[in-house]
Each structure stands twice: as C-alpha cells, then as structure tokens.
Symmetry: D2
Subunit: 140 residues, 4 copies
Amino acid sequence: MQDKPVFEHRMTVPFQDIDAAGVVFYAHLFRYAHEAYEHFMQHIGCSLRELLAEGSYLLPLVHAEADYHKPLHHADTLTIELWPKTLGRTSFTLGYRVLADDQTQQASLATVHVVLDRTTQRPLPLPASLREGLGAGAPP
Amino acid sequence: MQDKPVFEHRMTVPFQDIDAAGVVFYAHLFRYAHEAYEHFMQHIGCSLRELLAEGSYLLPLVHAEADYHKPLHHADTLTIELWPKTLGRTSFTLGYRVLADDQTQQASLATVHVVLDRTTQRPLPLPASLREGLGAGAPP
Amino acid sequence: MQDKPVFEHRMTVPFQDIDAAGVVFYAHLFRYAHEAYEHFMQHIGCSLRELLAEGSYLLPLVHAEADYHKPLHHADTLTIELWPKTLGRTSFTLGYRVLADDQTQQASLATVHVVLDRTTQRPLPLPASLREGLGAGAPP
Amino acid sequence: MQDKPVFEHRMTVPFQDIDAAGVVFYAHLFRYAHEAYEHFMQHIGCSLRELLAEGSYLLPLVHAEADYHKPLHHADTLTIELWPKTLGRTSFTLGYRVLADDQTQQASLATVHVVLDRTTQRPLPLPASLREGLGAGAPP
C-alpha cells in the first residue's frame, strides 16, 4: 500500500491543550489522531459506536508512536491526514500526518489495531467490511 | 453540619494542566476535586470501584460549582480539603477547598450527588453505610 | 438581558471522554463550554489568541457552575447554545445549554469572567469592543 | 546502558481515564509516563519547573512510542518504572514499564528528548548536571 491519505480531519487547537512550556502537550496528538480515526471509521461505515454497541469484535490498540517535527500552538488550525499503512491478517496499521495551514508537517503518527473476538478475546481475521473500508484508499 | 474538613488529598499540578494563559485550566479543578472524592469514598469504605462493580446504586453528579480565588501554576503542591456539607434524603453535597502550601485558599468547590437505584434509575434514600461514612465528619 | 442564545457550537462526544460509569465525565462539560466560548469570542471579533498575544487585558474565570439533567454518551452529537446572561462593569456572565439531537436539554452551565488589566492585574471596565460584542445578543 | 529501572512512580487509575470501551484510553499512558518523568527529573535535581523558570535549555520530546500488552481498568494501582535507555550527544531516551500489582507488565513506553538552546532553538550537548543525573542508573 502506498502512503497516500484517504481521509482528512480538520481541527483547531483548544486553549486548554497547552502545557507549561507553552506548546501543545505531546500526548494530545494521540488524542487528535484518535478523533480523526473515529471520523474515518464512521466514514467507511464501521462506526465505533455501533461496533461497541453490537459488534462481535473489538479493535484495541497494541502500539502507538509519534514523531514531533515542530511545536504546535494554541488556536493553530490543523489538518490530520489519515491512511491505512498496512493490512495484516488480524491487525492493521494507520498512519497520520499533522499539517499546519501552510502545509508544513508538524508531526507524524502511527497506530496498530488488532481485531479481537469480543467473547473469546482472541485475534480474528479482519472482517470483510472492515478490510474493504480500510482498503478503499489502497492502490490496486 | 459545620463546614469542617474531614479528609485531605495532596497533589502536585502536572506539566500538562496549564492552558494558553499560563495557568491551570479551570475545569481541571473539578478533576482534582473528583480525585479527592474518590480517595475519600475509599477512606469511608464506599470505594467507587466496588460500587460500580457490585453496588445496587449509583451516585451521579447533578450539580457542580467552583469559585476561583487565585491562579494555580505548574508544579504547585496543593491540598484539597473535602467535607460533607449537607446530607439530604436522597442526595448529599460535598465541599472542597484548594489550598496552596502557605495555606492561602486558591479555590473552593461543591458537588451535589444523588443516589440512584441502578435498575430503576430512581432516587433512593442514602444507604446507611454511606450516610454513616459521610456523617463521620459532622458534629453530633 | 433575556436568556436567548446568540451562538451555537456543534460537537460530537469523543471516545475518550467516558468515565468508569459509562457516561461523559462531568468536568468535560466545562471543557465543551469553553470550546464554545472560544468560538464565540472569535465570532464577535475578540479572539482569545489575539487577546493573549497582544491584548492589554485578560479574562480569567472566577466562577463556573453546571447542572446535569441527563447523562451524555459516546458519539452523542451535541449543540451548545451560548449567550451573555449579564454584563457588569468589570465582569460578565455567560450561560450555556447543552442540547441533544432531539432538542432535550442535557445540561446547563454558567461561567463568570472578569476583565483584568494585564500589567496591574486589577479589574478594568469592560472594553467597548468586548461590551459591544457581548451585547449583540441582548434586546434593546 | 542496561535496561534497569532507576526510578519508580506509583499511581492509581482515576475514574475519568476510562474510554467508551471500558478500559484506560491509550493516550493517557503517555500522560502517566510524563508524570513519572516529572518526578524523576525532580529526583535527579533537574526539576522541570526550575528548568522552565530559569534554565538555558529546553527538553522537547521528538519521539514517543508505546506497546500495550493488557488493558488497564479504573482504580488499578500501577507502578511505572523509568530508566534512561540511551544518552546521546544532544538527546536522550527514557524507557518506561507499567506494572500491575501482581507485577505483570501492562505496557512499555519510550520517549526521546532533545536538548535545545532556549535562545537559538538549536541542539546543545547534554549539560553535565543532566548527563550525571541520567547516568546515575547506568552500570559503570
């Protein structure tokens, strides 16, 4: 799969996300990425709310990482680009780029999710609907 | 009931609780108060974890308020004093004072909790164990 | 001044704002209200970012309160209505209503802000531009 | 350097750190790690508060990562072990292990910090005091 964005989430850095050094606290970037992920999942027809309410599987995170290129500030408007990086048999990896208004890249992140059977808590193959939704951004 | 503290919780303001104005974001004070409340409930033998796991009632908040006297800063060490202000038939009110190291009062808060039957979601009289725990700080 | 909304902010409850009781943690409502306030201030031409960067005054909160009518859940879409409740000489009060999609009122909040001279930290009369912006929703 | 803990931070998972799936939201682990880091820095005589107030350098994070082994729950008591993994010329890496009461490992994290000159914003060699403090846990 190529690393091309398939989804964009826009947001503005709120007043309270600043830390004692005057910039956005690093862990908030994972929160921003997760909000992009929630919107993305909704977009591909796999809303987390429905999954949690009635799904047969869960998608816990097993790994997360971030590289911080530039500090972010209060009221910055950000675009978070999201794309599926890899689809495994029972897991998938999402990539994220955090861009400022002038398109400079502020940070990049990745999260790895596994598909767990809700009852047995064991890994499951990616359900077809999820694989299809995630694969939509991938080249043939 | 007199307004005398029956419980103290000590904490240090973490790096990430600062806002764009360089002081602690006001809503975090409610979080600090709730952490004091969790420790207090444990202290009087009504741990929230056990309540949630096996209790027959819940204690949702129906009101919260705060007065802010002085700004709080990164790494301030705080004492949060907590005491039951009023015990009603189906609800109770807790008061909180947030003190700096030199005992100056930085903020004061109050939270009102109702006792709800977990099944019917209707108000219940305060269970005896809870009434006893809350009343421990009250004068006879 | 009548209590009529002059500004609306729409949002969706994110995955991570839930607490151990399965509903939105009460203190997050103050965060939601503050985000509505930030957008409102921008809307009336008094952006907090500019105030912090170059303003001669600050607007610290001295009081906040909330009444919780119904629990909020993950992925609820909310409308936060905001309106100036009172304009004092050196302070103002904002009111907020949190509405669900079916227009039922989930919570109501109020915040009181004072105008402080940035240098002296003393109360100042409301600057004309701020008074005008806040007054825009008031009847004549 | 060996991967041996040189510092331990104890904490209890608060009520509000749970997500819609009923477990601790993954990004909070970075917050927990940072709180351990703050206490550690104080312990080795490089308090972040003093650094920010009067230091000639800053220590921004440029990378963070986490592996999640088991879900964490409300009221779990955790021990966060912290140790310097590598000391570079102008950066250092900290490792963290999050342990449950029965010593099972719940998560492991790493953060990479660079030393930046506060005025020029350019990388600086690790100051002697910091190198000494970080090196205290390393074998000869």
